[in-house]
Amino acid sequence: MQTTTFEPLRWSEQPARVAIQHTNGRQEAYFQITSPRDLQRMCLGRPVEELPRITSLLSPSHHLVSAMALDNLVGVQPPQLAVNMRSGLLLSLCIAHHLRKLYFFISSHEDPFLEFHMRGTRRQEDRIPHHLVNELVQSLDLAQEAATILGGRAHHPLSAVAGGVGRALKEPYYERLTEIAEKSLAFAVKLAPVFAEKELGNGRTHDGLLDLPVKPTLHLSLSEDGSQVVVSDAEEKDVERFQPNQVFEKVHLHREPWTHEPFAYLADRGWKSREPESSDSLYFVGPLSRVISGKGMAGEPAEQARVQLIENPDEAPLFSVNGALRSLLVEVIGTAEKMVELYKQENLVGPSYRTVPSHMGTTGSATLESPGGLIAHRYEVDERGLVRKIEILDIAAENNALRCFIAKRAVEESAVRNFSHKQTKSMIEASLLPF
């Protein structure tokens, strides 16, 4: 048996590799997360109020869902100002998350750190204009500035606490946030058509690999008001709805000895295999799921982009790497529209930013649509408020069967096209990027 390994994988947030085992003319690809996150061990015995800061290690959105779980644990409703500030933080995180992925995708064609005149191998007219790439980075900076204003820090925010947020905003920030929202929307509307044409249009995809159809086609998202988790099929029919606090009963995790990341699946349907083609318990989460469900669109430009994504028959299949990248563009517009609505002074002032709880409960849970997809936390504490049990469903990361499937298809396709080791690695990385 011979093993080919692609490691380290570019743009992967966790240490990961793809190992291909060749046996008797057959090859099997394994997408492996090679280091444990060990978050449970980090959190057990910690004071529960510290979890929003510790769990932000997973991603900034975990800070927010953790604070929401604390609200539930201590039995308080945060004041409207705190709710708005937390929502505002989530919007800025979403823009930063998506723009970073789009920037990474652009940089897959050329070394972003070479001097300008040495960059790239593509013809000038095929590229996104350099000034637009610069604007993208500036727009990313602006989103992070908004996250810093609202969350204290962009990467590991710390403003959300049990019952609200840690402080109110200072006056100069109202105007600045409004400015950031308007600039973000203007840029998003400008970027989407150029990116779609230059990076994703006909002949611009990675030798057609981005049109690779991917399964599964079931998808999970939170309803607009956050009161239900909706399971939909490819035709947009609701297959099931359930309460967010049931998510740990409805979604189970299957573990394999060759990867540290578990495989999330719908418990009612049972674990069948990690092959989406033969398993109906696997699903999508994240931008593509939200966009095709019509969520996240506040205004006309985003809705137009969404309809165009879904209805345009000339484009790549909807459930594809290409479709996932396009959904990032649509969501950037939709999120920027929401920012314009929310980042107004009247939404960012209020008599109180925090409700101080009077008692500590025993269990608390919360669910949130993070930029990458649905995430959920559930805590159980002892009489001193120390964490006794913690469950975290990071469905975006634990949607592992999908990632394994994409890596496998990229490997198969590369073999058919006789790609080199380096080209195959690039194909795997580009295919995994938008998910």
Partner: protein
């Protein structure tokens, strides 16, 4: 003049440190006259084989904690290649949040159940204890923080990658770095081996909150109090580690009402940050009554996990030594 060959790598971590380098995007591009990024798998997609093209690299920014034997091997490989090895971020510098697992019983290899047929590729072995970079290889410099603040990161990169030629490093070096380090940086020579690109004093020195009278009359946990936004958190009874933590962040956490948890590591001259905190707090108890003092100390929970939040593997005196040593 040959360009400085730069490598950037994260072992087990959240990529926050690498994102922090990316966040100085325009500046990083301005490094081009001095430095060439020859190994940055996360952003530029380099392979391990790409390192073999270089007999030596000049500077390696290593982020993340050492949690598996693959992390250890990566640290050793990069140490062999790099003239200067820099621990970038709290995980590499002190073990960081992943180091909290060292407070639980020894990590054992978990046998995970599975139904995969055949002979799937094995995973790297999990290390018995999480370590910082300096726990496994010699480390030349430290850039603390979770993640490091952009100004410090940029100053360090310029100081180490550009020699004496990048002028933009100077103002920040004068303002924040310890005197010996700032003198070296502004003179265009390498700082003393083992230097930390952080402040010289404690976080309290840069915190905007007013300190009046350090008297500890009660202990509040974060969720139990909406602290006065202008007054020292510790004086209000919230355990804030600013007085034992190295300055350099400008009091980011305390500015948003959150207590310092020590991601810059212990301040200069402190032997053990946790001991320093316990000593400082207990010496300012606003009571001489033993029962009252006991009532207050009973309110402290999870001292090890709080006072060594980011530093268990490398800076907690009682726990940092390898059990075999």
């Amino acid at each position: 003049m040959p360009k400085t060959k730069l490598a950037i790598f994260t072992a087990t971590g959240c990529r926050g440190c690498e994102d922090a380098v990316l966040d100085i995007h325009h500046f990083v591009n301005s490094l081009t006259p001095w430095a060439e990024i020859v190994f940055w798998p996360y952003v530029a997609g380099h392979h391990w084989q790409d390192l073999e093209d270089h007999d030596q690299i000049d500077l390696c920014l290593f982020a993340g904690a050492i949690c598996t034997d693959a992390d250890r091997q990566a640290a050793e490989t990069l140490r062999d290649k790099a003239k200067l090895m820099v621990a970038c971020g709290a995980c590499a510098a002190f073990g960081g949040l992943p180091g909290l697992v060292n407070l639980t019983s020894n990590r054992q290899e978990e046998s995970m159940p599975g139904i995969t047929e055949g002979d799937p590729p094995p995973l790297p072995r999990t290390e018995p204890r999480v370590r910082g970079l300096s726990g496994v290889v010699e480390t030349d410099y430290f850039i603390p923080g979770c993640p490091p603040t952009q100004n410090l990161l940029w100053t360090a990169i310029q100081a180490l990658a550009c020699g004496g030629e990048a002028p933009a490093r100077i103002s920040y070096a004068y303002a924040r770095l310890p005197e010996s380090t700032s003198l070296a940086v502004t003179s265009g020579v390498l700082p003393r081996h083992g230097s930390t690109f952080g402040g010289e004093r404690a976080v309290c020195a840069g915190c905007s909150r007013m300190k009046q009278e350090k008297k500890f009359s009660t202990v509040y946990r974060q969720h139990e109090i909406a602290p006065d936004p202008g007054r020292c958190l510790l004086e209000q009874g919230v355990i804030c580690q600013g007085l034992a933590t190295r300055e350099g962040c400008g009091g980011l956490c305390t500015a948003v009402g959150a207590a310092c948890r020590g991601c810059f590591g212990k301040a200069e001259g402190i032997y053990d940050a946790g001991t320093k905190m316990v000593s400082a707090i207990s010496s300012t108890f606003d009571t001489t009554d033993r029962k009252e003092a006991e009532r207050m100390t009973d309110r402290f929970v999870d001292l090890a996990g709080t006072l060594y939040r980011y530093t268990v593997p490398e800076q907690c005196v009682l726990l940092s030594a390898d059990p075999k040593e």
